[in-house]
Symmetry: C2
Subunit: 332 residues, 2 copies
């Protein structure tokens, strides 16, 4: 049994398809009487409009495609929440896709999304392969590239420079007098932004004629457990470190736990530095240093930009919106 169509609503209300269509969309130039009859009929029949037909006919959709690498890292759910919140009530609707940090998968996800003819796309990062970029350009819709800033955007760009963020953290840590510095990270092969932070960090050390004394990296996904394990391994190799930089706060939290178990005073003897400014960092019994990335704001900004870029206002918009993470060093 098929779902009721607009035609059936119209018949039940005793008007034409067009009048029914206008009435339901709240268009001007429809008599109060028709509106009432149509609304009533639609309600009674249980009519739910068909967006497929609507979008095909109107030659536009209310869809904004959003592609993120994963949902396992809390950062991305937060970005998505920001996007959702801004879109709420605008009539536009976000559609999410996951790339699993895989460029091929990302390309296919994007291709799939484009086949729904979204009115804009928001994608993570600037490092897409050429073919993916070509797909996006040919779509001829506003494209927002999100999170990163170190590269050439296709269209719009909202994010922060991870290279600069790593460098800034390095300089900040050096001001505290720390000199024996180690690094713990994970998934640098796929998490290009974490890798950029590490490079920036190392550059700041070089400028002070220092370098990483020891590092421990794993290909796995980041987690407090992994951070804890790698920290133990690192401290075994290099017990005299007075500071460790982590690929992110999840890993850094694990570092804190390792230190608690080992009886190492944080931050007095060992300073722990992460990235993101996650909620958990606030709750920990000791303070860590971190860069607060405005994840939700970046999502909100991207969504707002996408909306504006669909209007004539488009030409007057800034193509690049740069955020700067705020560094806190904890109790030091």
């Amino acid at each position: 049994m098929r779902r009721p169509t607009l035609e059936e609503v119209a018949a039940a209300a005793g008007v034409s398809k067009m009048t029914a269509s206008r009435a339901l969309r709240g268009a001007a130039d429809v008599s109060k009487d028709s509106i009432l009859k149509v609304r009533e009929a639609a309600e009674r029949i249980g009519y739910v409009g068909n967006q497929l037909a609507l979008s095909l006919s109107a030659q536009r959709t209310n869809l904004i495609g959003v592609v993120v690498p994963s949902l396992s890292n809390v950062v991305f759910p937060e970005v998505l929440s920001g996007i959702s919140a801004v879109l709420e009530g605008t009539g536009m609707q976000a559609v999410f896709g996951l790339s699993d940090y895989d460029p091929d998968k990302e390309r296919e996800v994007i291709r799939n999304m484009l086949s729904w003819r979204p009115s804009a796309m928001i994608v993570t990062g600037l490092d897409q392969p050429d073919e993916t970029l070509r797909l996006l350009r040919q779509a001829d819709i506003p494209i927002v590239q999100l999170m990163d800033l170190d590269g050439e955007p296709v269209d719009f760009n909202v994010g922060l420079s991870h290279g600069a963020a790593g460098e800034a953290m390095g300089r900040a840590l050096l001001t505290t007098g720390r000199r024996r510095i180690g690094y713990v990270g994970s998934g640098l092969g796929r998490d290009l932004r974490a890798a950029k932070r590490k490079r920036g960090f190392e550059m700041s050390l070089r400028q002070a004629d220092l370098s990483l004394e020891a590092e421990e990296v794993a290909p796995d996904f980041s987690s407090p457990s992994l951070g804890k394990r790698l920290t133990r391994a690192l401290l075994l190799k290099a017990p005299e470190l007075d500071c460790i930089y982590y690929s992110n706060d999840d890993m850094a939290a694990g570092g804190v736990f390792a230190c608690m178990e080992l009886g190492i005073a944080v931050p007095d003897r060992l300073l722990i530095a992460g990235f993101n400014g996650l909620e958990i960092a606030d709750a920990l019994p000791v303070r860590i240093a971190t860069s607060h990335s405005p994840r939700r704001e970046m999502g909100e900004t991207a969504a707002r930009l996408a909306l504006q870029a669909m209007t004539p206002e488009r030409e007057r918009l800034e193509r690049i919106v740069a955020f700067t993470p705020r560094i806190t060093l904890g109790s030091e």
Copy 2:
């Protein structure tokens, strides 16, 4: 400039629209030669199929609608990852929506999704208002209700009984000899499943002629920080507690942090019990009790069920798939 259509691909390849259509979909009964020509033409022109037209014409979509209350609680991203993973490669595509724990918003999100004519829906919980249930039933597609088990499902149901989970945790804690028991929770007004766990937990206490000695609840969203604050408040009111049950592991982690700062030995002096079995519980420097909920598996199962329910196999499927969370008490 409009995007190229199938017609243009066909023209470029020197065949008819239908042959082009068949060639691109890899249908049988198309000559090798046509396939090659069409593929080449599509590639050259940069053709991306139009799902709107496809779905409208074929009278079916490859969409599965998924509605969850939020992405802030890591549990839901994990569920979504499970769903995504199962759908990968099946040609079906998940579309996510957020209800923000608001029944009205949930209804509108579901109504919106249904207007895209998804082939199945997966929604969180069993406690939808009648009107929402009516919408879902009238859609005449497989409906999977997820996470919860305490209630009457519309169609299919995958989850666990939160009442039973709370009760089981209560009984387990009692076997450890704890008698002075407190509770810390948040958002029980909207998080109906957490409220069910609390009720089950209290029931198990009553059966041992006990009751909660003290409790601290807040309307906010759960987080380690909130758990820490409420734990401090609770211990001020009731310092002799030997056990605290939390609405979930995020809150329980905050409880651990509070105890560390207060110098309270966990679990020796105070046993901390949460719910979910989150990754962070493993990394903490002390052990907490928790119920391990198979979140990813529930998502996978729901997706698998939705897929099967779209086939003739539908009649032979179990309507209810019950999971039982595994309880671990930590070092006790």
